[in-house]
Symmetry: C2
Amino acid sequence: MFITCLDLEGVLIPEIWIAIAKYTKIPQLEITTREEPDYDKLMKKRIEILNVNNITLNEIQNIIKKMKPIQGAKKFLEWLHELSEIFILTDSYLEFAKPMVKALGNYGLFCHNLEINEKGKIIDYTLRLQNMKKLTVQKLHELNYVIIAVGDSYNDIAMLKEADFGLLFNPPENVRAEFSQFPSFFEYTELKKKIQEILKS
Amino acid sequence: MFITCLDLEGVLIPEIWIAIAKYTKIPQLEITTREEPDYDKLMKKRIEILNVNNITLNEIQNIIKKMKPIQGAKKFLEWLHELSEIFILTDSYLEFAKPMVKALGNYGLFCHNLEINEKGKIIDYTLRLQNMKKLTVQKLHELNYVIIAVGDSYNDIAMLKEADFGLLFNPPENVRAEFSQFPSFFEYTELKKKIQEILKS
């Protein structure tokens, strides 16, 4: 039996922080691990910027509600769910990811979570687990599943390596070049063909 | 972070084989592990009865499509999904369980599967894993989740023991008496209260 583990941002929906930066008109929120490689510093900075600007979780969730999945994502998942169990593995937070996952069709979600105070302010974040994506695939393996994993960036590579079949979707050129052992796809139709081939093998 | 693992038959939907027996008017299909404690013999007998009567998977899936979830199950799951990730763990088969899980709201599904021949006949079954329910809870534990498990019968007990909080829903009297360490609930409203209490603890 197959499980397909998919990254969320970049694979099924656009980047959430980019959307927040755009809607709030705070370009500082566009910073990513490219500009600030230390994830903890990056997240603390983001939380600080939100709080300086009095942006609550509720406002962010309203922005996320306006976001649209990448065109074709929902239909792709419906197609895939006929052939394989689907889990979405994201390094984002429950409070951000869940509304999007529901809009995509309510698949199983593995993620982290935020700490919210009584005023609805985001005060901290909690990583449920270090190396969450890789370890999730490992545990699903131990439950006797064959795993296909789909990601787009550095934080997906350990998951792709752990899976039986690792696939890149819409990777930036540097990720594609560095990890050329994983085939790259740029359209759901191509990705479908590859998955169909795997399922038949 | 919480995951609630729920058994399917008896907890969210009626027993599938009972429904098949009723619709096909083959009372022999009502046999359960009470009459035939050897599960392998039981399943082989069921498959034989289906094939003697020329009942294909397709026909069974049409029967399953007519089945209704237990009253209140869908709303209970919607309520629960706001507070906890939900996985459905069943010793039934993908081909039987998936249509019901979709009707319930598309939650993550862990199950076994059937072997179907080119004529659509069920020819065998495959247990993905022995002790699947218990092991699934164990692996989810290792992913740093707190687990609530809800079941109704003997095949759920190992899962209930492995979980942080094991709850019985609609158990038969003998199961309730034998495993009185697990609180029993007979209405979703009672079960909701208990889960709310756990989530707040």
